[in-house]
């Protein structure tokens, strides 16, 4: 299951699983996590999982996007000359990034990193 399986429009409860802490929790609570995950194909629930691979992958893409956005004055992250490795520390500082998140979501879904 990939995080790119966006919730559909049926009447469902969407669960966004923050996998990193859940993976740690899993070691001593395997039964509990299994019970939860067993419901992933049930009619009323929709699971979105932020896997480790997804996280590192998307951070790379977000960094690119942030650069792109700065050039187009879309994201106010301040210093353009900041070391690229530091982007991950600054890109969510401004709380208006919701629009950008959405753009990222759509562009990744289309298989492209071009911002809409």
């Amino acid at each position: 299951m990939s995080w790119l399986n966006y919730p559909d429009k049926k009447q469902k409860l969407s669960l966004f699983l923050e996998t990193e802490s859940l993976n740690n929790y899993l070691s001593s609570n395997e039964k509990e996590i299994s019970k939860l995950l067993n419901y992933r194909n049930s009619e009323h629930f929709n699971f979105t999982r932020s896997t480790d691979s997804f996280n590192s992958n998307i951070i790379d893409k977000i960094n690119q996007f942030v650069i792109f956005s700065v050039e187009n004055d879309h994201v106010q992250i301040g210093d353009k000359n900041i070391n690229p490795s530091e982007y991950k520390y600054v890109h969510f500082v401004p709380e208006m990034t919701a629009v950008e998140w959405l753009q990222i979501k759509y562009t990744i879904r289309k298989g492209s990193i071009q911002a809409s």
Partner: protein, 349 residues
């Protein structure tokens, strides 16, 4: 800013960063209505995020950040709100049967022989049906808490009924005890004296001690609990009632009962073992003291009560000599495996 507050530092490691990143993606899905309205949960065991969830919701709006346990309970209420009772991932039961199985798995020592329709109804059959209604009332309060519809009237309605049912359950146990041990005492013709309460059931309990001292010790060890429920029922059914209050903040309106004037209730809740909850301002039994008011959150309270009641009642029946119902079934009995599966797979309380 958000990350600063959550982790109390400017530079995050990749794990910390990912947790905040996930939170913002979740928020985007909410803002752009990728999720159904009010039908989303952010499931995490990240202590920092959970400890700051109230602050996060004030800052970013409703996020529904929950632990795995809380999420499963929420899923169960969501499905029931949609009129579906899940016994397992792809296994739905009708409401009556779901609550019956819930009761049977919680009180394994309930072991009353089946009877023909015309047979006399056993007092513990009344106990079983009251317990089933109590579990239903608990869920109804939970649904009103999370998916409100006429909440201001429906929560007090179910809350008052819940309290009456608990006292009814206590009375059923007392009546069965009197009957099993042929207990008689002066005034045993007055129903209110056949009671587990130390006040009204003083003479009855004296006789219980003679017949089954361990059972009497068990009742005594739950004295505060029994007293708490009896007092709350008195307040809700016979006296002034609880004052309900709607509390509005940036993420919506919440519903509470105000119990500052009912000091005895507060004291007894603490005596029942209430303690601070891990991530919220409300205690495990649902109390929040904000200096001007003392709030009681009904859903937390009824869960705490039901948890104690389950332990109390099952052990009570065991001490009365009842054996586990499932032990009477053959190893490969279908209902036996159904109860086992229900116990392991159901999501809710």
């Amino acid at each position: 800013m958000v990350a600063d507050k959550i982790y109390d530092k400017e530079r995050l490691n990749s794990s910390e960063l990912n947790s905040i990143l996930a939170l913002f993606i979740h928020r985007t899905f909410i803002l752009y209505q990728i999720y159904q309205k009010n039908a989303f949960v952010f499931v995490t065991q990240n202590r920092r995020i959970l400890e700051n969830r109230e602050w996060l919701e004030k800052k970013l709006g409703k996020l529904n950040i929950m632990t795995v346990q809380e999420s499963m309970r929420y899923m169960d209420l969501y499905a029931k709100h949609e009129l579906k009772c899940y016994a397992g991932p792809n296994h739905l039961l009708n409401k009556d049967y779901w609550y019956w199985n819930s009761f049977r798995t919680k009180i394994p020592h309930y072991h009353v022989p089946e009877r023909e329709n015309e047979g006399k109804v056993h007092i513990l059959e009344g106990f079983a049906s009251r317990f089933k209604f109590l579990l239903l009332a608990l869920d109804e309060i939970g649904m009103q808490q999370h998916f409100p519809k006429d909440r201001d009237i429906m929560i007090p309605y179910h809350f008052n009924y819940f309290l009456s049912l608990v006292t009814g359950i206590f009375d059923n146990l007392a009546i069965e005890t009197k009957s099993k041990y042929n207990i008689s005492f002066d005034g045993d013709n007055i129903p209110s004296r056949i009671s587990l309460s130390t006040k009204s059931g003083k003479y009855f309990l004296k006789e219980v001690k003679k017949k089954n001292a361990i059972l009497k010790t068990h009742i005594d060890s739950y004295g505060n609990f029994i007293e708490l429920i009896n007092i709350m029922r008195q307040i809700s059914i016979h006296r002034e009632g609880f004052r309900d209050m709607a509390y509005k903040d940036s993420i919506g309106i919440s519903f509470f009962l105000e119990i500052k004037e009912q000091e005895q209730v507060v004291v007894l809740i603490k005596a029942c073992g209430d303690e601070p909850s891990e991530y919220d301002k409300f205690s495990r039994w649902g109390i929040f003291d904000d200096e001007f008011f003392i709030f009681l959150e009904p859903y937390r309270f009824v869960i705490a009560v039901a948890n104690q009641l389950v332990i109390f009642c099952d052990h009570y029946l065991e001490l009365m000599g009842f054996t586990k119902f499932v032990d009477s079934l053959p190893d490969r009995d279908q209902y036996r495996s159904e109860l086992q599966s229900f116990s392991e797979s159901r999501l809710g309380f």
